[in-house]
Amino acid sequence: MEKYTVVIIGGGATGLGILRDLAMRGVKALLVEKKDLVNGASSRYHGLLHSGGRYVVKDRDAAKECITENQIMRRIGKSCVEPCGGMFTRLDIDDEDYEEQWVKGCNETGIDITPITIDEAINLEPRLNRKRLRSVYLIPDAAIDGFRMAWQLVDSAKRYGGEFRTYTEFVGLDQVNGELHGVMVRNQFTGEIYEIGCDIAVNAAGGWAGFVGERAGLKIGVQPDKGTLIAFNQRIVSHVVNRLHKSSDGDIFVPHGSITILGTSSISIPNPEDTSTSREEVESLIKIGEQTFENLRDFRILRAFAGARPLYIPEGGELGRNASRGFAILDHETDGLKGFFTIVGGKFTTFRLMAEKICDQICAKLDVQEPCRTAEVPIVEEVPQAEKERAKKFFPSYGVELAAERLGVEKFRRVVARMESDPESRELVCECENITRAEVEEIAKESTTYSVDDLRRRTRIGMGTCQGNFCTFRGTAVLNEMCEQSKDKDTLTHMRKFLQGRWKGIRPVLIGRTLREMQIKRAIYELSMNVTGGEPK
């Protein structure tokens, strides 16, 4: 039987943070994930690197953690963070007293805020609704890319010897008299169940932590809490724009590259797999968003999506907006199960801190003396400017910057080498996000790529303006040519599955120009390509 010191269950930001942290301390660790990495709340969120401003009134500790981690992340995760800055805006309908408490909270927490005039605010964000605007503060919010962060954490962990397996589901523990021997996992493709030996197992399954707990025979107070978000096809804002009021639905806009994300709602749901969104939720978000940006409906919506926050609710604790956004580490030795830990709650911004805290506890158990270094060592090495310049011979120059940030130096070099030797691979597979065939080929041949959707999470194909109109065809073809382990070799199935995934997010926002894009998609795939297949009836 194979043996690791620590097995981590869950491939979200927290699990990956733990993997990297342990690997850096020399602990032999393996992460298992039942689907692909970051398919849960770690990618299904705003992409907001909180300054802490949102929590200063209700939860000072969370706010302090946020501002500290915000500063760390800007240093170690440079290529994942867009330091766009943020803004808190109070409208005529918002409580003035809250503003006073908020300013006091920021000052006492050490969050640097700067009041600006309405004119200055309009100058920075011309689309703001001037008529309603009452006061505005600048704050060090930023945008952060959850997908990119995940792959870079993996690359970093791998360099230190960390390992991971996707499409590998945790099904139970092997324990004897309360002592952990290993974890039982299932290969999602073959159905095979096998054991991986370990001294310690960590439940970092986020919204699924309750399910993992059940399979380990434990009851864990985690409440999946659904947040629905809308992605707009334009950069409506150039700062993160928050409403300055008691935290509520639909009050944050975050710019990401060429898009903007508006969210979110907060609904307790029984099953974290429920990432459905409805027209009603979308309408309600737009209605609130229109208070800050009156012309919001003029912008094309790309899609709606939802994720489940893993709120930690200790017995008798409050749900929804009133639940703490803090995190908790549970050592189940107290429940009579030695070697099993759970980490729940928290938020993306603080994932590194969460990992550090639990790894400190794990290392203490293992008698490992190495200190945590994740706050100092950059996650990936940046691509040197000279190499970027050289790559501009083959790339559109805007694409060079994007690829360098996405890939980190090692993969970037491989992609550029591919383009150098094979001119045909210089063509763009995805014009929306400037992704070359070389990059898609390089990712398609990685051992953890199985589907077009996996390609999407690693490269962003299908996530741009056209939502897969062109790149579904091209991405599938490249997968077919490059990906040996793609279990499902049928390209038609790959295409249908991928387009269905895009469709899920488009359905609730099927209005305006999205209708037009949808008809293009149908004309291409149903009429020109006949991917629905079959003979006429």
């Binding site: 409906r297 390209t491 269905q500 209708l515 009429l527 006429p536 009836k537």
Partner: protein, 404 residues
């Protein structure tokens, strides 16, 4: 002031077809277009109905179906008319309503259609020994391996030979099928040499991306005379040379016969006198212009063409004449949970209801205007993509409206 018998608004398949029919009737025709029209997006194959026997299926459609309103004689006439116009433009089309013809898609599926360019006819694939699939280095959007993998499922006994030609297309910007088609039309020598090198016999077939020129059949004729095997073009991602050729053939017919085509003519409203339209007004940043006519044909398309728009849920509208738009109410009916479902998508049925003269009707079924006709994807009631009737509805409704 420009005097027209007929004004056609829209330069997609329906609009161009209606204009061609009107021109044939010796009418003075003006076409107002805005944007590229639907044809570059399409394969150039014109589907009539998803059935092995489209004619029988269409005959049996219920009273409310747009085809029922158009009527079988006009549908058949439209097919003959299109074949005639394309033949004159040296872009021969083949097929009729009694059967379906297979074409090969870029994915490698077979697709069945009714009226297709001769260059796409794949009927003989079942009888050939060897099938060459030709990729061209540098062309994006054509992947022989994927095509072969899928096509094998239909022709498991054939001997598939994927090959790649180097036509010196690499080294510049990305090359799509349109670019390659233009390059080969300009100089076909290298392409012909490579094709000859396959030594294909009359018992073989050669499948190629649609690169045989961008206007008509002349490149294909030149290439074919030097080969023994059949040459079959596939569909491709837009812009599709096969669709562009049809657009150019119809446009050429209009130009040769004195029709006026105004591009970038953004029609924003009509002028109404009682139950007639007297003219339409175009608008750009500098001026407004009035176009009077005796008869108007609206062919601005559905959601794709912009003929129907919907900024907010449950509020679709037709932007030029503000015609009543019918649509399916309710989120659960608006779309199917599955993108590729075995039933129509509700949203795609959004559109204008017409009488048997293709005139928009009110809720009592009465025509709203004497001289306004609505054709193609503007027409509502059915999901034409699901029925695979988009092209057929376009040309037959156009024919009907233009011959009223």
């Amino acid at each position: 002031m420009i005097d027209s018998d007929v004004i056609v608004i829209g330069g997609g398949l329906a609009g161009l077809m209606a204009a061609c029919v009107a021109v044939r009737r010796k009418e003075k025709v003006t076409v107002l277009t805005f944007g590229s029209g639907s044809l570059p997006l399409a394969s150039g194959a014109i589907d009539f109905y998803n059935s092995k026997f489209p004619e029988t299926a269409i005959k049996n459609l219920p009273v409310g179906h747009p085809y029922y309103r158009i009527g079988l004689p006009a549908i058949k006439d439209s097919i003959n008319f299109l074949k005639d116009v394309t033949a004159r433009a040296n872009l021969p089309y083949t097929g009729d309503l009694s059967f379906q013809i297979p074409i090969v898609t870029a994915v490698g599926t077979l697709k069945y259609s009714t009226l297709i360019p001769e260059s796409m006819d794949a009927s003989l694939l079942g009888d050939v020994k060897k099938i060459f699939v030709v990729g061209i280095r540098g062309i994006k959007d054509f992947y022989p391996r994927m095509l072969v993998d899928n096509l094998k499922k239909y022709f498991s006994n054939a001997d598939f030979n994927p090959v790649t030609f180097d036509l010196n297309l690499l080294g510049g910007r990305d090359i799509n099928c349109m670019d390659a088609a233009q390059m080969i039309a300009d100089n076909d020598e290298l392409f012909i040499n490579e094709l000859k090198g396959l030594n294909a016999t009359p018992e073989d077939a050669i499948i190629i991306p649609p690169v045989l020129g961008t206007t008509d059949n002349s490149t294909r004729v030149t290439v074919k005379t030097q080969l023994h095997a059949a040459l079959i073009e596939t569909t491709c991602l837009p812009p599709a040379p096969t669709g562009v050729r049809l657009q150019r053939a119809l446009t050429k017919y209009l130009e040769d016969n004195g029709a006026r085509i105004y591009k970038n003519a953004n029609v924003f409203g009509g002028v109404v006198e009682e139950n007639r339209i007297t003219g339409v007004v175009t608008k750009n940043s500098v001026r407004e212009k009035f176009y009077p006519a005796r008869k108007f044909i609206l062919a601005t398309g559905g959601f794709y063409g912009g003929g129907i728009v919907m900024r907010e849920f449950d509020k679709p509208h037709e932007p030029i004449f503000d015609l009543p738009v019918k649509y399916i109410v309710g989120e659960e009916n608006w779309s199917n949970p599955k993108l590729f479902a075995d039933k129509p998508q509700g949203f795609a049925a959004t559109g204008i209801f017409v009488d048997s003269k293709m005139r928009p009707i009110d809720s009592d079924g009465q025509p709203l205007f004497e001289n306004l006709h609505v054709i193609g994807a503007n027409i509502g009631g059915k999901d034409f993509i699901h029925e695979k009737s988009l092209g057929g509805i376009a040309i037959s409704s156009a024919y009907k409206a233009a011959t009223i």
